[in-house]
């Protein structure tokens, strides 16, 4: 049994199922991070003192990580564009780059976390660190999730290319939408936590 519009586009909506699904999912993600950012604002405005981000955190590492994530978004688009041009070999290279850049982000994050933990700045240290670990931690889980999916499409999932290239291209596109969203969250996180 086939589910209609898994691959092909429904004419009156102009979309396939996966694309609606991923956008709806992203809407819920906006609410998730929106609630955390709103909590951040409420806790910060209600607090008698709050450190400026760059006095506590290393904004240089974060700037580097911002560049890494933006670069990974570019390679993600290139991976999808390669499939649209039916260049599977190029797709593999760009997809590998996307996953590796995600890995670089995580490694930098690891050093950042261990530095703060080493200084005794645990989540319980202050509400600044509480929200810092919660927001970046949840974001990091999203990066990890995106990497797992992308690695799957780079590796075993790529078999679909041989049987149904259109479907495979769509899937990579949807995974890319998620990846860009994760990137976008970081672009909000970076100034909020590290600069303001």
């Amino acid at each position: 049994m086939d589910i209609p519009y898994t691959v092909e586009v429904r004419r009156d909506t102009g979309l396939n199922n996966g694309k609606i699904g991923i956008w709806l999912f992203l809407a819920s993600e906006v609410m998730l991070f929106g609630a955390l950012f709103a909590s951040y604002i409420l806790i910060r405005t209600g607090s008698p003192s709050w450190p400026r981000g760059d006095t506590v955190l290393d904004y240089r590492l974060a700037t580097f990580n911002t560049i890494v994530l933006i670069a990974s978004s570019v390679t993600m688009v290139m991976a999808w564009a390669s499939l649209m041009r039916r260049r599977f070999g190029t797709f593999r290279i760009y997809m590998a780059a996307t996953v590796l850049l995600g890995g670089v982000f995580l490694v930098v994050k690891y050093f950042e976390y261990s530095h703060h933990l080493h200084l005794g700045e645990y989540p319980s240290h202050s509400n600044f660190f509480a929200i810092y670990y919660t927001l970046t931690g949840l974001h990091m889980l999203h990066v990890l999730g995106g990497m797992v999916v992308n690695a799957y499409f780079w590796g075993p999932g790529a078999k679909l290319w041989n049987t149904n290239p259109v479907w495979f291209t769509n899937r990579v596109e949807h995974s890319g939408l998620f990846w860009h969203f994760v990137d976008l969250v970081w672009i909000f996180l970076f100034p909020t936590l590290y600069l303001l």
């Binding site: 589910i3 709806l24 809407a27 609630a35 806790i43 645990y122 989540p123 509480a130 149904n164």
Partner: protein, 587 residues
């Protein structure tokens, strides 16, 4: 994106699928991706949890009716830590109360109303072969299952299950025993389950409607599920965020919801402090008010289907009902703080939220009125589903109207912490929603099994439940208006002013226990009819919507030929037609 390769690729995909036609027992009944099997799994799980939550409540009702009296016969089963000598400890009462609320809402009603009916009925009603994402659908059920197991397991951890109410207000919940951590982890599973389900329902409704089935031809039930899914999609994530923060407060020692200098048992807590306790309430009710509509909208959808079918006439004001339910969905996001008038919010905030609350009552009244007017001049068939559906109307009416004083700041403050609130929302959810769910079970059971449930047993079940529901909840209005707090484990037996209403507590309790007896015919009927019920034809209720064109029970893939919609959903008693129903699916 259109592509020349699509057709060939589709054919290859179909050939690939053909290898998987033969499914073993586990794939067919347990780890199934068929929306009907998943719907039934959801429904049975929901019913079991409803029964479990009901049992928790019956235990609570013992101590409310007879405070301090040992529970006869089974009192010894709960151990010395919970009921020494058969007498209930307040901590155990709190455990029962918190878990009753959590289980009824998140594991009982929502899985049955949304997961069960939504999964089983919605794809059939829109003429789809399955949900848009069958595997995600299966994942959604198993997330719910894990969440349920976590919640049940929490009864066995040291200190017992969560005791801070289903609302888990901070800072109480942060300093509570380890059961609260389990509650939070369980909730994260349940939220994930809802999220996956909501994405699936929305995509299915948008994409998989049959040819000719435009949005204004959708049955009202589909509209109700559609709006409900939007609420689940957008309202649950803030609670997930809040749950993560509470988990951080409990596990990592942060102070998101913890004020500075909190003294517990004579000791100042050593946390960083500076958190905002009311923030939890905001995030919680930002979910939980839309959640109220998650509980009621599917019920309205079910009742609308059954009323149209059994009055043999079109729903009165279908379009205004659809506009109302969409409007209701939007406004439900900006009324949440009417649960929080007691926090001492400023008058400007209170004025805003009481205004929006009064506004949101309008679409609910429009829907209820349309349903009542639909009865007018119909040739009503009083079968079991219809009896439950008709009973929904006054019961929900009582629940809704008694909610108005709670929506206004001034009258809410004296009423809010009393039994009046318990009576109000239970009238909405118990004889309201749960009656609609029973109606739906009796109505769609023939579609799921190919056999009807027994009518006589059904009517006994209906009559007993209707009487008992009112015996349980009507006295609570009186207790509440007398000012008795709803948070006392002994119903206020230590207070003078509560003495005058103590006897009403025993009336409520006996109502609840007798109601349990009236559920026995239903449970028996539910299982007995699978094999022994009267055989049902495909369109057993002579209905007009598309699900009735499928065989009963529908096979995997539902329809032999993809159905088409030729007209609106409720073309009953069309003048000049040769029968009193003109189905959507007949040309």
């Amino acid at each position: 994106m259109s592509h020349p390769g699509t057709v060939a690729a589709g054919a290859a995909h179909r050939a690939h699928e053909a290898h998987h036609e033969e499914l073993g027992f586990w794939r067919k009944y347990v780890f199934s991706t068929d929306h009907k099997v998943i719907g039934i799994q959801y429904a049975v799980t929901g019913l079991l949890f409803l029964l479990f939550g009901f049992v928790l409540m019956m235990l609570m009702r013992w101590n409310l009716a007879y405070p301090g009296v040992p529970l006869p016969l089974i009192g010894g089963l709960f151990g010395e830590a919970r009921m020494p000598g058969g007498t209930m400890l307040p901590e155990f009462y709190n455990e029962l109360g918190a878990m009753h609320g959590t289980i009824m809402v998140f594991l009982g009603v929502v899985p049955l109303a949304v997961g069960g009916f939504g999964n089983f009925v919605l794809p059939l009603q829109i003429g789809a072969p399955d949900m848009a994402f069958p595997k995600i659908n299966m994942a959604s059920y198993w997330c719910l299952f894990l969440g349920g197991i976590t919640m049940l397991g929490s009864f066995f951890v040291p200190g017992g299950a969560a005791q801070s109410g289903w609302t888990s207000y901070t800072p109480l919940a942060v300093i509570a025993g380890s059961g609260q951590t389990w509650w939070l982890v369980g909730m994260i599973f349940l939220i994930t389950s809802s999220l996956l389900g909501a994405v699936n329902f929305l995509t299915t409704t948008i994409q998989l409607r049959a040819k000719g089935l435009t949005f204004m031809r959708l049955p009202f039930f589909v509209w109700a599920q559609f709006v409900t899914s939007f609420l689940l999609l957008l309202a649950f994530p803030p609670l997930e965020a809040a749950g993560v923060m509470q988990l951080m407060d409990r596990v990592a020692g942060t102070s998101f919801f913890m004020p500075s200098g909190l003294v517990v048992s004579g000791q100042v807590l050593a946390n960083a402090g500076g958190g905002n306790t009311v923030l939890w309430q905001h995030l919680f009710w930002f979910l939980a008010h839309p959640e109220v509509y998650v509980l009621i909208l599917p019920a309205m959808g079910i009742v609308a289907e059954i009323i149209a079918n059994n009055t043999r006439k079109p729903l009165w004001g279908y379009r205004s009902m659809v506009y109302s339910i969409v409007f209701l969905g939007f406004v439900s996001f900006i009324v949440w703080a009417h649960h929080m008038f007691m926090t001492g919010m400023g008058t400007a905030m209170a004025a805003f939220f009481q205004t929006t609350t009064m506004i949101i009552s309008i679409p609910s009244v429009v829907i209820l009125t349309a349903l009542v007017v639909s009865l007018w001049g119909g040739s009503i068939r009083f079968n079991t589903p219809m009896l439950f559906a008709i009973s929904f109307l006054p019961m929900f009416g009582i629940g809704g109207l008694t909610g108005l004083p709670l929506g206004l700041n001034i009258s809410d403050i004296p009423l809010h912490d009393t039994y009046y609130v318990i009576a109000h929302f239970h009238y909405v959810v118990a004889p309201g929603t749960i009656f609609a769910l029973f109606a739906g079970i009796y109505y769609w059971y023939p579609k799921a099994t190919g056999r009807r449930m027994n009518e006589t047993l059904g009517k006994v079940h209906w009559f007993g439940s209707l009487v008992c529901m009112n015996v349980v909840f009507m006295p609570m209005f009186l207790v509440g208006l007398a000012g008795v707090s709803r948070r006392l484990f002994d119903a206020g037996s230590a207070y003078d002013f509560a003495q005058g209403t103590m006897h009403w507590n025993s009336v409520s309790s006996w109502g609840a226990w007798i109601m349990a007896l009236f559920q026995i015919p239903f449970i028996f009927n539910f299982f007995w009819s699978i094999r022994n019920g009267e055989k049902a034809e495909d369109n057993v209720w002579q209905a007009t919507t598309i699900e009735w064109s499928a065989p009963s029970p529908p096979p995997h893939g539902n329809f032999a030929v993809a159905p088409q919609a030729h007209r609106g959903p409720y073309e009953y008693s069309v003048p000049g037609a040769n029968k009193d129903f003109t189905p959507q699916f007949e040309a």
